[in-house]
């Protein structure tokens, strides 16, 4: 009956292919960075790039960009739960 227009038609083949190219380039950057520097900096950079990559996947491939405010906000919930879990775990590990 009622089918809401999801607006997905807004993104064509081109958007996805460009996103894919960006993801591949970011992967190459991660490999290059971690090859030369093995310190804490490379861990940080690698995780930062991984987060940018997952952001791109979420926002474009997973259509979060076209979803309503509810989906955009709800997504923050597991991130918050995860961040809290990490925070409290390391409070324990560091000050034990």
């Amino acid at each position: 009956m009622e089918q809401r227009n999801t607006g997905h038609s807004a993104a064509g083949f081109k958007t996805y292919i460009i996103t894919w190219v960006a993801l591949v380039i970011l992967t190459a950057v991660t490999i290059a960075v971690t090859k030369f520097d093995t310190g804490a900096v490379s861990i940080l950079v690698a995780l930062l790039i991984a987060s940018v990559k997952s952001g791109l996947i979420l926002y474009i491939f997973m259509h979060l960009r076209y979803e309503g405010w509810f989906f955009k906000l709800a997504f923050l919930l597991p991130i918050l739960v995860f961040a809290l879990s990490v925070g409290f775990t390391f409070l324990d590990v560091w000050y034990r």
Binding site: M1, E2, Q3, R4, T6, H8, S9, A11, G12, F13, Y16, I17, T19, W20, L23, V24, T27, T30, I31, T34, T38, S42, I43, A46, L47, I49, A50, K53, S54, I57, L58, I60, F61, M62, H63, E67, G68, F70, F71, A74, F75, L77, P78, V81, F82, S85, V86, T89, F90, V93
Partner: protein
């Protein structure tokens, strides 16, 4: 009466509800893997040197190839939805098959990688592994559990696509009713995201 009911059920579609349900499921998946990532980071913190030594043994090339395979499969997945929305059912089916084949290629690589490790005597509870340090045992334990659970998700994803392929072929998934395809896509992309983190954490940061 029953006839009207089934007819209503047949025509009733709740796009937002279906999406919401899928995202809620994906949240639980994120936290499932999230817990393991916390475990990984705590032990990495505690056994930094041994994790460093163990991670060196992993093959960066196989990891990089598998990353490329999964990223590309995510692309073909997204393209299959675009193709269907544009009314090109045939192209959508082609992209779905390519996605499945890429998933199988990923698993093939994983099989060879695990096979090489097992050949070298590195598998859970193996004599060789137990003779190594505590940190290395933990590293490989996490490696097998996390990449194993991830590979299981890839297997399930391929299984789901077999059904979606059939649904698209039979027309129950179509350009005006594509939520099943879209939700399977969401699942596939999430599996990709998990790999985006697994790859640097196990293969790159040594």
């Amino acid at each position: 009466m029953e006839d009207t009911l089934s007819k209503t059920a047949e025509h009733h579609r709740d796009y937002t509800g279906a999406k919401m349900g899928m995202w809620l499921f994906l949240f639980t998946e994120m936290l499932l893997f999230g817990g393991m990532f916390i475990l990984y980071s705590v032990y990495r913190f505690e056994f930094a040197a041994e994790f460093h030594a163990a991670a060196k043994e992993l093959d960066r090339t196989i990891g990089a190839v598998n990353t490329l395979i999964l990223l590309t499969s995510s692309l073909t997945m997204a393209l299959s939805i675009v193709a269907l929305k544009k009314g090109n059912k045939h192209l959508s089916l082609v992209f779905q098959v390519v996605t499945m084949l890429l998933g199988i290629a990923f698993l093939g690589n994983k099989y060879m990688e695990w096979g090489a490790k097992i050949h070298h005597g590195i598998y859970p509870n193996s004599e060789h592994l137990l003779s190594l340090g505590k940190g290395q045992i933990l590293f490989y334990g996490l490696y097998f559990v996390m990449t194993g659970l991830h590979a299981l998700h890839v297997v399930i994803g391929i299984g789901v696509f077999v059904f979606i392929f059939y649904f698209t072929l039979s027309g129950s998934v179509a350009s005006d009713n594509s939520v099943k395809l879209e939700n399977s896509g969401l699942y596939w992309h999430l599996v990709d995201i998990i790999w985006v983190y697994l790859f640097p954490l196990f293969y790159l940061i040594t």
